[in-house]
């Protein structure tokens, strides 16, 4: 015969301080885990969503796939447009985006400085970057910039200070914010976009960093690669945007592994916390447990009763931690080397967090319960 359900529930209420402290400890552990998992999932999503399989990027051969190091002649977009078959075309405009990309110090009106990612683009850019959505304001004119949703985070500033009409200073020029854009969470969201010619003028550069092309099929990607291999004098290299971001995912693999290690370390710490709490809880109930056994409850029934209490407590803590994470952690923007991204508490994060939380409740109750059940009933009844 098992202990009644109400027995475990009432037991928790009998020691409110101890129960409250255990709940708080378990909730903290699960919340910490959810934050780290949210970081990993956010980073993974940001990189996974950024690559478009139809987009080819053409860099300088010596740039080693880093657009900041790349410098290619300004006539490359025209050459590519004229040579490559299968470049998408809309109303006579080919989807070939000439871009100049740099990381530079940006100062806002309040004098706050931070590093921003600046991309000089032409009107063709939206034809290639097809997930771009202008959510506020307008496409930049001369001396204006368009801000991604996470650009302020990347620069270490709050969006409240970066409204349309505000001014930003970089590369010796003052720029007016003309609007804000989103890109389904892609890496561009942490960038500041302006007109290519304005950026070239400000930086006194005539070259480009890269050319992005939106291709109708995979065969055309081969053509772009072949163009780069045939025109060795231009020292170009081509890669699909999808492969570029896959490469970045590989680059950040150690970071992700480290983060997962932190998750399991936090979980391990949580198990010890739970064990400690449950040992304390069970140690003060030796007489109660002995009494239960004396009136006929078997060891198994008492063990299940204690596990039931632990599970109930862990479930409450996990629920609370999950709610906190969804309400306050999900979508929180964080700055990272490649830009910025949003923490993501998705179904997988919740599943792992809740799973580990419930496991902590059960696993934490078993060892102290076994210890208590091993004691002789007579000794247990005599204990104070």
């Amino acid at each position: 015969m098992l202990l009644p359900w109400e027995y475990g529930v009432r037991n928790l209420a009998r020691r409110p301080v101890r129960t409250g402290l255990t709940l708080f400890a378990l909730a903290t552990v699960v919340t910490l885990m959810l934050v780290v998992i949210g970081f990993i999932r956010g980073l993974e999503r940001s990189l996974a969503i950024s690559g478009d399989p139809n987009v080819a990027l053409v860099f300088s051969l010596t740039a080693e796939d880093n657009p900041e190091n790349s410098s290619i002649p300004a006539n490359i977009p025209d050459l590519l447009a004229a040579t490559i078959e299968g470049v998408s075309e809309n109303f006579g405009n080919q989807a070939v985006s000439a871009e100049l990309f740099l990381a530079t110090r940006v100062t806002n009106e309040a004098g706050h400085q931070g590093f921003g990612l600046i991309r000089g683009v032409t009107n063709q850019a939206p034809q290639v970057r097809r997930n771009l959505r202008l959510v506020e304001g307008q496409w930049p004119k001369a001396g204006e910039v368009l801000l991604g949703r996470l650009a302020a985070t990347k620069m270490g500033q709050t969006t409240a200070r970066l409204n349309i009409g505000d001014r930003l200073d970089f590369e010796g020029e003052s720029w007016t914010i003309s609007g804000h854009f989103i890109a389904d969470g892609a890496a561009f969201e942490s960038e500041v976009w302006c007109r290519l010619e304005d950026l070239q003028l400000a930086t006194k550069r005539q070259d480009l960093s890269l050319v992005a092309l939106w291709l109708e099929n995979r065969r055309s990607l081969g053509e772009v690669e072949l163009f780069c291999k045939e025109r060795l004098d231009l020292e170009l290299s081509a890669i699909s945007e999808l492969d570029y971001y896959r490469g970045l995912q590989q680059f950040y693999k150690p970071v992700r592994w480290m983060a997962w290690t932190v998750v399991w370390m936090v979980a391990g710490a949580g198990i010890f916390t739970g064990l400690n709490m449950m040992y304390g809880s069970v140690a003060g109930r030796i007489r109660e447990i002995a009494t239960l056994r004396a009136i006929g409850f078997r060891r198994r029934a008492v063990l299940i009763g204690l596990m039931h209490e632990g599970l109930l407590m862990a479930a409450c803590a996990t629920l609370f931690a999950g709610l906190m994470a969804v309400m306050f952690v999900d979508g929180f923007a964080v700055k990272f080397t490649m830009g910025a991204f949003r923490l993501r508490i998705d179904s997988l994060a919740l599943m792992i967090g809740c799973g580990v939380g419930l496991f902590l409740g059960v696993a934490g109750a078993i060892p102290p319960a076994i210890k208590a059940l091993r004691a002789e009933i007579a000794n247990g009844l005599k204990s104070s």
Binding site: R218, L221, L226, K229, L232, D233, E235
Partner: protein, 171 residues
Amino acid sequence: MKKLFFLLLATGVVALWGCNLSTTPTSTPTSNISQNFAPQFIAAVEPVDPFSVGAARQSAEHDQAISIEGRIGGTPQPFVNGLAAFTMVDFSIPDCCGAECTTPECSPAELAQNIVTVKFVDQNKKTLTVDARELLNLKEKDAVVIDGLVQRDQHGNFTVLANKIFIRPNQ
């Protein structure tokens, strides 16, 4: 009783593990040759007195029929994805160039004089839309001799429109 139980449990685990091992599909020797393999491009006999890549770049004229020997490589990814094209370098270039090593022979200037782009084309001189690794059963660092027509441009780029390839057996 307990000992008997654990003995049975251990026996069961070992037996299941054994069954699992025996049911693991063993890899059958399969052919590496792709279904896109086109033997008509493979030369049965090695062309005699081929040019080295470096010599061909120096002396060959535009539209000249030529045989060139070299090794597939010279760039981190010598094959063009999805097309029958690749880069080939002179044997004087170390086979690590384009990847990890930085010897003087791997300098961009030296490499530029000892690299050629090879592509297999149809009657309209369009590059065949099958990956060279599948079409010709090639892999990186293969030593090959190709027959084809030289294409040069005013920028010094050198491409061969190949029609045959001889793949030297691995030494």
